[in-house]
């Protein structure tokens, strides 16, 4: 139930439009339970069969859902990425030091906006990666449960299929994320006040939901990998996250401004 709770928490923290796009873990668990319940009669047996088929059915439905959503987001990201690049070029060309209407104030202002936008854009992409990952994890877990309770061998081949699904092949998004990071490093001067990070509460974070969601995601990952009672050959090793205290503190203190 641990994962179920974590997933629920993630969903609560996530961007509102995403909330119904996550894995229906609870439903799947119900179906697994129904599939493996002791049949008392022929009707009971029938229930089992129906649940079984329903389970597979729902699994595929979920995968489709993930794929659609993911691909759609990916498309948006591609467009926005290009737009941001163009915007930056334009601002530099217009208001930059060598620009046509070089203006420090305008430049700073526009760059400020771009900076906020690009950071949020980066955040959203990373959250999409997180979305992909947490759904994958959920699928792996539920398949393991299924195999365990029904004695089936669905897991291995099914997960192989899942690995190839668009929603899990996040290479493009990953690439965009890295490009984003590079752009930020190139365009925006490195911060001098790095040492203040630890002290500053997240009181003025502009994009509350993205930030909160990101922190929640990190915490979730960390906890999910803390070590499980059913550790097996297919489990991920525990996570060794530097600055985990910082992350925890951010989680506690972040919800300050009102959404």
């Amino acid at each position: 139930m641990k994962f179920g709770k974590r997933l629920k928490h993630q969903i609560q923290e996530t961007l509102p439009e995403w909330q119904d796009k996550f894995l229906a873990y609870k439903d799947l668990k119900k179906l697994v339970r129904l599939t493996s319940s002791a049949p008392s009669s022929s009707e009971g047996l029938m229930e089992n069969r129906k649940a079984e088929v329903g389970f597979i059915y729902l699994l595929n439905a979920e995968i489709d859902k993930f794929n659609s959503f993911f691909i759609e987001q990916e498309e948006d990201f591609i467009i926005r990425h290009k737009e941001l690049q163009q915007r930056i070029q334009k601002v530099i060309a217009t208001w930059g030091p060598n620009g046509t209407q070089s203006s420090e104030v305008d430049y700073r202002e526009e760059m400020g906006k771009i900076r906020k936008d690009i950071v949020n854009f980066h955040g959203e992409m990373v959250l999409l990666e997180n979305y992909s990952n947490i759904n994958y994890t959920g699928l792996a877990k539920i398949l393991k449960k299924y195999d365990k309770r029904t004695g089936g061998l669905l897991r291995l081949p099914f997960i192989q299929k899942v690995l190839r699904q668009p929603f899990f092949t996040t290479d493009l998004v990953s690439k965009l994320v890295k490009e984003c990071e590079n752009t930020i490093n190139d365009v925006f001067p490195a911060a001098e006040e790095a040492e203040r990070i630890g002290e500053r509460e997240a009181a003025f974070v502009p994009e509350q939901s993205i930030f909160r969601n990101t922190v929640a995601a990190l915490v979730t990952i960390q906890e999910l990998r803390r070590g499980s009672s059913t550790y097996s050959e297919f489990s991920l090793p525990p996570l060794n996250l530097a600055d985990s205290d910082l992350i925890q503190s951010l989680q506690v203190h972040s919800p300050i401004s009102i959404l």
Binding site: V53, N60, D64, K82, N133, Y136, V177, E207
Partner: protein, 473 residues
């Protein structure tokens, strides 16, 4: 228009049920002999089988979804499906429709008393075998259709997407792709088919008259399903790439900007095969939104009013704080991204190893059982390890058990490498993760080398068993 009168429509029961019955009847008319599940089992882990299985499972949704949401048009989908069922020449179609008959129509199939010879037997595995065998015994009508399963409310669109995509017989309502579907798209674009992987659907059942030589590349564009389904074309799921987007932008610019460009014009200019006007239309819409409200689309909705932003232009100090906050946000995001990458790679590796060892143990099992069959029925090879003890049991027994044992042994071996990985992970922290990978590589490689399938299975047994057992000491 797609009504193919190749099946009788049974008028009994609710409308949708009758259609189900009809299609059920059709699928049974196909010449599929009951293939014993045990034979099919070894093929189970094959990815192609899995893809077929997924076909099995996804397609039932199509008719179901349409039943729930769009009764009026169901007939259309159904008839096209079942119409195609009789035409086995449509290789891309046959696995679809035939599988679309399975899950929800198991009740009807049980009614007809068939022994469920459905090609899913090729990929069904234990769970399915139970399902099928049970259903063939029971003869009462299952109230499957009336069960209010919650997930049936899933949007129709996604499921109609799963319908036969490369379906030329669906005719007029489809936007005909201008190009031959057989040509492989040279562009760096992925047009994918959910949930098919890019492998061939070659069902190894000669009795089933299916020509499944169609690579998924041909099936590619998940072209919009018949628009008569919903009245509005559902968004086809095509996967855009930056390169493709570049061409799109170029085309749009040539046509005078995003406002003036039309989807048709852009489509023509782009000259990309298997790109439909629907793709372009939706993409253009997104593009326009992105341009005129930069970064206020998706996710960052306008609700997130940021008073601090307004202040920043007035107060420099706040500006610095903003910058800091952004930096903090960026740091956290970068960290999450890093962790996700690592996690994903780990997950991939773990499954890779699992699959690899599973395959290996199957090979071992096969060669051992062949050896047993060839030689006289001695109780056992003295060199044979415990995992081979199981195949000595009656050959007719369910293939499951020895498979499971093999899997267990495989799992033990994986456990070994996982433990190895974990300990090195712990000692090194996450930054050492890339360096632990070569260690993992050695394990399967070592096992691999000793498992040359030709003759040395005995050695394999010893090696694998020793590697499985030693860490657990």
């Amino acid at each position: 228009m797609e009504e193919r009168p190749t099946f009788p429509i049974q008028g009994s029961g609710p409308k949708h049920r009758s259609k189900l019955g009809a299609s059920g009847a059709v699928s049974l008319s196909l010449p599929v002999p009951p293939i014993p599940l045990e034979e099919k089992y070894p093929k189970f882990p094959d990815s192609q089988q899995v893809s077929l299985e997924s076909e099995l499972m996804t397609n039932p949704m199509a008719p179901r979804g349409s039943l729930v949401t769009n009764n009026g048009v169901v007939g259309h989908i159904f008839s096209s499906d079942s119409g195609l069922s009789s035409d086995l020449q449509f290789s891309s179609v046959s696995p679809h429709e035939r599988h679309s008959r399975n899950a929800p129509f198991i009740s009807q199939l049980s009614n007809s008393g068939a022994s469920l010879p459905l090609s899913p037997s090729s990929h069904s595995g234990p769970f399915h075998s139970r399902v099928l065998s049970q259903y063939s015994e029971e003869n009462h009508d299952v109230s499957w259709c009336t069960d209010p399963l919650p997930y049936l409310d899933y949007p129709l669109q996604e499921w109609t997407d799963n319908l036969i995509t490369d379906d030329n017989t669906l005719g007029a309502n489809w936007i005909e792709l201008p190009d031959d579907n057989n040509t492989v798209d040279p562009e760096p674009k992925e047009v994918y088919q959910v949930p098919k992987p890019s492998s061939n659907f070659s069902v190894p059942q000669p009795q089933v008259n299916q020509q499944l030589s169609v690579p998924s590349g041909e099936l590619c564009p998940v072209a919009s399903p018949p628009s008569s389904v919903n009245g509005a074309p559902t968004k086809p799921r095509m996967r855009w790439t930056p390169e493709l987007h570049e061409r799109f932008v170029e085309a749009v610019n040539q046509l005078g900007g995003s406002e003036r460009a039309t989807p048709k014009g852009v489509l023509k200019l782009m000259k990309v095969e298997s790109l439909t006007i629907y793709h372009v239309k939706s993409h253009l819409q997104k593009y326009r939104t992105a341009r005129y409200r930069p970064d206020s689309s998706e996710g960052t909705s306008e609700k997130k009013i940021n008073p601090i932003e307004e202040m920043s232009s007035l107060d420099l100090k706040t500006g610095i704080e903003i910058t800091e906050a952004l930096r903090l946000q960026m740091e956290v995001q970068k960290r999450l991204h890093e962790q996700l990458e690592i996690q994903r790679n780990l997950q991939l590796r773990i499954e890779e190893q699992g699959k690899y060892l599973q395959m290996m143990f199957e090979k071992q099992y096969k060669t051992t059982s062949d050896k047993l069959k060839a030689s006289s029925p001695t109780p056992g090879d003295p060199a044979a390890p415990s995992s081979d003890a199981v195949p000595h049991s009656p050959p007719k027994s369910e293939v499951e058990t020895p498979e499971k044992d093999c899997a267990k042994t495989a799992n033990d071996a994986i456990d070994a490498s996982a433990v190895l990985h974990e300990s090195s992970q712990k000692s090194g922290g996450k930054r050492k993760a890339p360096e632990t990978r070569p260690t993992e590589d050695l394990e399967p490689a070592a096992i691999c080398k000793s498992s040359s399938p030709s003759t040395k299975h005995a050695r394999v047994d010893d090696t694998s068993i020793s590697s499985a057992e030693s860490p657990s000491d």
